[in-house]
């Protein structure tokens, strides 16, 4: 079960979607006005992420490469709809607080990113834990941002007053600019910790995902390498055919000119 632990650590710390990958910034900045909102958004996303990762991983041999993105979206949107209806039915206060950002989970790049980068080329169990790890990392990050903003902007923490009465809330922190301040400072602290760790000789590098390349720094944006590695003969043929077609098309163009 080493890979399970590895996926969890990777999601929460090393490839934390918010502080390291800088993904899903829209909900990160918009809903973290309080710790409870951040936690709710994080956990909601985690459920969708884990379920969609499992399904995409199960269907990875069935989904054709060329329409994989629409297929991912359909799967993700189905789960988001389920989660949205469940929230509306059972946790209405959270549903009201998150508002439009629940349906917007469909376009959250963490979910699509993990589907493309991990679930689509890995077995079901690691994909499940990748989703849970990433989701937990997102939840931790959002809860931290929400807690700091709530503490400074309203003087409370999880709706419990913790600051002394003489504290004057700095209300900018629960407005949009405060989200940027807090995110920037927390990211800076996170980077500082990483630098100190590297100086002490700890391994702070990201755990490689799927293809053996670090997707964040991978120049191969179309990820053709992945296709060639997995299904060599078929894809190579296709690529060759495409090239030939392109060349022919080019020749025709020049003839027409």
């Amino acid at each position: 079960m080493n890979s399970v632990k590895e996926r969890l650590v990777n999601g929460i710390v090393k490839e934390n979607p918010t502080f390291v990958l800088m993904l899903g910034m829209c909900p990160t900045l918009a809903v973290t006005t309080s710790a409870i909102n951040g936690l709710g958004m994080g956990l909601t996303t985690m459920v969708v992420l884990a379920l969609s990762n499992v399904f995409i991983s199960m269907l990875r041999h069935i989904i054709p490469d060329k329409v994989r993105i629409p297929a991912f979206i359909v799967i993700i949107a189905s789960f988001v709809t389920i989660v949205q209806l469940l929230l509306q039915g059972f946790i209405p206060f959270l549903y009201d607080a998150l508002g439009i950002y629940i349906p917007l989970i469909v376009v959250n790049c963490i979910i699509l990113g993990r589907a493309e980068a991990y679930a689509y080329k890995n077995p079901v169990i690691p994909s499940l834990f990748d989703g849970i790890g990433m989701g937990l990392g997102f939840s931790v990050a959002l809860t931290c941002i929400g807690a700091v903003r709530e503490l400074l902007g309203a003087g409370t923490l999880f709706n419990i007053g913790v600051m002394p009465e003489s504290f004057v809330p700095v209300s900018i922190f629960i407005m949009a600019p405060g989200a940027f301040f807090v995110l920037a400072v927390l990211t800076a602290i996170q980077n500082k910790v990483k630098i100190i760790g590297e100086r002490k000789g700890k391994d702070m590098s990201k755990i490689q995902s799927g293809c053996g390349n670090d997707c964040l720094n991978c120049a191969d944006t179309g990820c053709a390498k992945r296709l060639i590695d997995e299904k060599p003969s078929k894809v190579r043929k296709e690529i060759e055919i495409e090239e030939i077609v392109d060349e022919e098309a080019g020749e025709e163009d020049t003839k027409n000119d």
């Binding site: 004057v168 700095v170 209300s171 900018i172 922190f173 407005m175 600019p177 301040f181």
Partner: protein
């Protein structure tokens, strides 16, 4: 051997003025308005100014010590920031407002972007807007021992009569340094005489505001109304001391006119169509953000480029 040419790299023309001498001149130019603020609002204004200046200078010192950078508090730019910020605070503000504002101005707006010369907006104004958004009730409470009630601009907006002579001299409610048009203009004259600023930005700012107000203010060329707009609020302080900040204004001459006109139009929009009576700080901050674009489009052509081809 005296015939040998002296070869050196540029700059070849040097001026005696340094950052610290310029900043010191600005501090001196601010003193009339600051002094009037103390005369007008009492000793509490002086204390607030000292606290704010101390907070900006100490923040800069602490940041540079912690980050092991060259200590630059000797160039007085932090003093100017602190003084300008304090003059933008109402006298009823508690002392910690000055400290929070000073730390924000220096730490977030100035030092995190690389220190003097690198900041993308005026630190004093950035901090003022931060305070205005965070502590709205404190920052818009102009009640003090000398005056109660709204500022002249707020009265003007709600249609009440205002005493223009009081506004020009400065016997009105408002922030510490903005009330007296006379004192600020004296300071502006010092700046202009010493060649620190020129009239391009303040002039185009004020003229465009006058035109905007006479077009859209709903009263046409009503001079008492227009002069109340000019004497009221932070316009004079903003136009002469903040819009002309070397770091956050355009370098190109044409760009400075564009910048001034833009500020005038923005201030007019905020004052006339916006919900609050004052709009100078937000106008200048938005202008600051647009400076790189203004410089890009107003860049003069290099000699020999772009002429007609033979």
């Amino acid at each position: 051997m005296n015939d040998l040419m002296k070869v050196s790299s540029n700059p070849h023309v040097r001026s005696k003025s340094t950052t610290s001498s310029i900043m010191l001149t600005v501090v001196i130019a601010l003193l009339p308005a600051a002094g009037f603020g103390i005369y007008n609002f009492g000793l509490k204004a002086l204390i607030l100014m000292l606290v704010t200046v101390a907070s900006t200078v100490l923040t800069e010192l602490a940041f540079e010590k912690i980050c092991k950078k060259k200590v630059t508090i000797g160039d007085y730019s932090a003093v100017v920031t602190g003084l300008l910020l304090a003059m933008n605070l109402p006298v009823s503000a508690p002392w910690w407002i000055g400290v929070v504002g000073g730390v924000f101005a220096i730490l977030v707006v100035k030092m995190l972007f690389g220190g003097l010369g690198q900041n993308f907006m005026n630190p004093a104004l950035g901090a003022r807007c931060f305070l205005l958004i965070s502590f709205t009730s404190i920052m818009t409470n102009f009640d003090c021992d000398a005056y109660t009630g709204a500022t002249p601009l707020a009265n003007l907006k709600s249609g009440e009569a205002v005493d223009i002579l009081d506004m020009v001299i400065g016997r009105t409610a408002g922030t510490i340094g903005e009330t007296s048009m006379v004192a600020i203009v004296i300071g502006a004259c010092i700046l202009i005489l010493f060649g620190i600023i020129d009239l391009r930005i303040p002039g185009s700012y004020i003229v465009s505001l006058v035109i905007f107000i006479s077009l859209f203010g709903g009263r046409g060329l009503d001079w008492p109304y227009i002069s109340a707009h000019l004497a009221g609020g932070g316009l004079m302080l903003g136009a002469f001391f903040m819009a002309t900040d070397y770091v956050t204004r355009p370098i190109t001459k044409r760009g400075q006119y564009v910048y001034g006109i833009l500020l005038g139009i923005l201030t007019g929009i905020f004052r006339i169509f916006g919900p609050s009576a004052e709009g100078v700080s937000y106008a200048i901050i938005i202008g600051n953000l647009l400076v790189p674009l203004i410089e890009k489009v107003t860049l003069p052509k290099a000699f020999g480029k772009g002429g007609e081809k033979a």
